[in-house]
């Protein structure tokens, strides 16, 4: 399904929410394409939830617009929202009804969703055994799965999830992440997730949009080097640190970052294509290499850099 389709599935254009004289969200603009998992990051109170709720039409925008598959949420809500599947915070259901009856509610509200489709989705999220039990008796993890089921029921082109892992245990979080990745890969569904669990976002998203005080701070891809990071930082563990440093210093374009003599660790920065040369030079010099580790700055480090630290959720 992933193809050459380049028109964005979701396009947020200068969305602003003003309450009183304060802009809770201020001129936010970003696009999401087919099959992409995008994280919306920001400290508490940055406007993540407000943004998500404006995208799904729960909160009215003061200015700007959101286009879903080319339909405006403002001007043509019914056509636009049809392509969205959403879980807004912990999904809440009618507790006195069974999971199945809850899904039937949403099935009746969407055109062209058959009962077979319900069972298909129930199987996908692994709720077959519990679907006829009352939601009251569901664990949070089961309710979260039912939440995914209701969001996917009408074959949306984009899933929008507000803090989907809130309150889940590590196993539940992992399960959720695996689902989402599978859905994005197999069905080509775009996904927008807001969260403040940075490590989670790092594992799940292909791109993050960082906002602070309602404004876009940065937007960048994850898992590949950014523009100003053509150089890799590598730590080598060797038996003879002195010899290694001597050998390494003869290479062009290599910067020594530091070393830890006790551990025999040498950290250098160099171009990715020079790494094999460095290794073979060291081997020729009879330096024994135990380990070569790439030094990645984690999303958390970067996040703190972007948002100026100390205000993280």
């Amino acid at each position: 399904m992933v193809g050459t389709n380049t028109t964005p599935v979701l396009s947020v254009n200068g969305v602003t929410k003003t309450i009183g004289r304060r802009n809770i969200v201020d001129g936010l603009t970003f696009d999401i394409h087919h099959g992409e998992i995008v994280g919306l990051l920001g400290p508490n109170g940055a406007g993540k939830t407000t943004t998500i709720r404006m995208i799904v039409g729960l909160i009215e925008m003061s200015r700007g617009d959101v286009l879903v598959q080319g339909h405006s949420i403002k001007g043509d809500f019914v056509k636009a929202i049809r392509h969205i599947g959403g879980i807004i915070e912990n999904p809440e259901f009618y507790p006195y009804m069974s999971g199945y009856d809850n899904l039937r509610q949403y099935q009746r509200m969407s055109d062209g969703v058959s009962i077979t489709r319900i069972m298909e989705i129930v199987k996908l999220v692994g709720l077959q055994d519990a679907i006829h039990k009352k939601v009251r008796a569901y664990s949070l993890g089961m309710r979260q799965r039912l939440g995914i089921a209701q969001a996917l029921l009408h074959n949306p082109s984009i899933l929008i999830l507000d803090e989907p892992t809130n309150g889940l245990d590590p196993a539940g979080i992992r399960e959720m992440r695996d689902y989402l990745k599978r859905i994005a890969r197999e069905e080509g569904i775009a996904i927008l997730v807001s969260s403040h669990l940075l490590s989670e976002m790092e594992l799940m998203c292909s791109r993050v949009v960082v906002i602070q005080e309602g404004k876009l701070v940065t937007e960048r891809a994850i898992g590949q080097a950014g523009e100003n990071e053509e150089l890799s930082t590598v730590t080598l563990r060797v038996n003879d640190l002195e010899l290694a440093e001597q050998t390494a210093s003869r290479l062009d374009g290599l910067t020594r970052i530091g070393s830890i003599p006790d551990e025999g660790a040498l950290t250098v920065r160099l171009k990715e294509e020079d790494i094999p040369d460095l290794i073979s030079e060291l081997c020729n010099a009879r330096v024994r290499i135990y380990r070569v580790e790439e030094h990645k700055s984690s999303l958390e480090d970067e996040f703190l850099k972007w948002t100026g630290g100390n205000r993280i959720a």
């Binding site: 019914v78 929202i81 009856d101 949403y106 009746r108 009408h154």
Partner: protein, 251 residues
């Protein structure tokens, strides 16, 4: 149209699947039968239709039906907010206006079933307890009493529906809805001497005052006048409710 039918069916199921769904029916049937037995034992009573007319009319036991309907109505919008289900309800491919209209329709259907049920139970109980022979009242009187009580209930239910939307609190909606029903007769007594009071909701809501040659509380009122005033109030309540529901930010 089919999709609106689906929405109404959804709302009906939300009420029906609750364990408390049958409680109002049971309470009404219980009250009617209890009063019938008491009347039979202590005063003899008149004929079956006479009893039924008393049972279904607003000034008889019909007001109890109104109070029960108010309680059920109060939760329809407010509970969606308090349970958090409103978020999943409003992100469907349906307009908010349509969703709210389906809720109101389901409530109206519910009120009609309550009134019809009470009518049936009252007539049946009356016939069994007091016999079928004709007295002063006829089946027609019973039907008319039921109809007036239906109108009466719809007005208060609509008021409660609006309060539920505006406040998002079922407690407030129940409180205001019930309070209005209860203070109604007092307001009528206190304010009936002022001629402007004929435009008040409370003085027009009980249409049964025009039947049987009774006089209206304020001179110059008629059945047509009261119906017009009630329609104006209903439109006001629904207008306020729908506009608020459509505009509201769900945070």
């Amino acid at each position: 149209m089919r999709s609106f039918g689906n929405l109404v069916w959804n709302e009906w199921l939300k009420m029906f699947k609750k364990r408390s769904f049958f409680l109002p029916y049971l309470l009404l049937a219980g009250a009617v039968i209890l009063v019938a037995v008491m009347l039979y034992n202590f005063s003899g009573g008149d004929n079956g239709y006479g009893f039924a007319e008393m049972a279904v009319s607003t000034r008889g036991m019909g007001q109890m039906l109104t109070l029960l309907a108010v309680v059920v109505t109060a939760g329809t919008v407010a509970k969606e907010h308090s349970m958090g289900t409103i978020k999943l309800l409003l992100i469907r491919a349906q307009s908010r206006t349509k969703i709210l209209a389906s809720k109101y329709t389901a409530i109206l259907i519910y009120v009609v079933t309550l009134v019809a049920f009470m009518l049936a139970v009252s007539v049946l109980t009356g016939q069994i307890t007091f016999g079928m022979e004709n007295g002063s009242a006829t089946l027609n009187d019973v039907l008319q009493g039921s109809l007036y009580n239906l109108v009466y209930t719809v007005v208060y239910v609509t008021l409660t529906f609006m309060v539920g939307i505006l406040t998002r609190s079922s407690g407030a909606a129940i409180g205001i809805g019930m309070f209005s029903v209860i203070v109604e007769s007092m307001v009528v007594q206190l304010l009936a001497r002022y001629s402007w009071s004929k435009y008040l909701l409370f003085l027009n809501v009980d249409l049964s005052m025009y039947s049987g040659g009774g006089s209206s509380p304020v001179p110059g009122m008629s059945l047509a006048f009261s119906i017009t005033v009630l329609i104006a109030y209903l439109l006001l309540f629904l207008g306020a409710g729908f506009v608020t529901f459509k505009k509201r930010d769900v945070a």
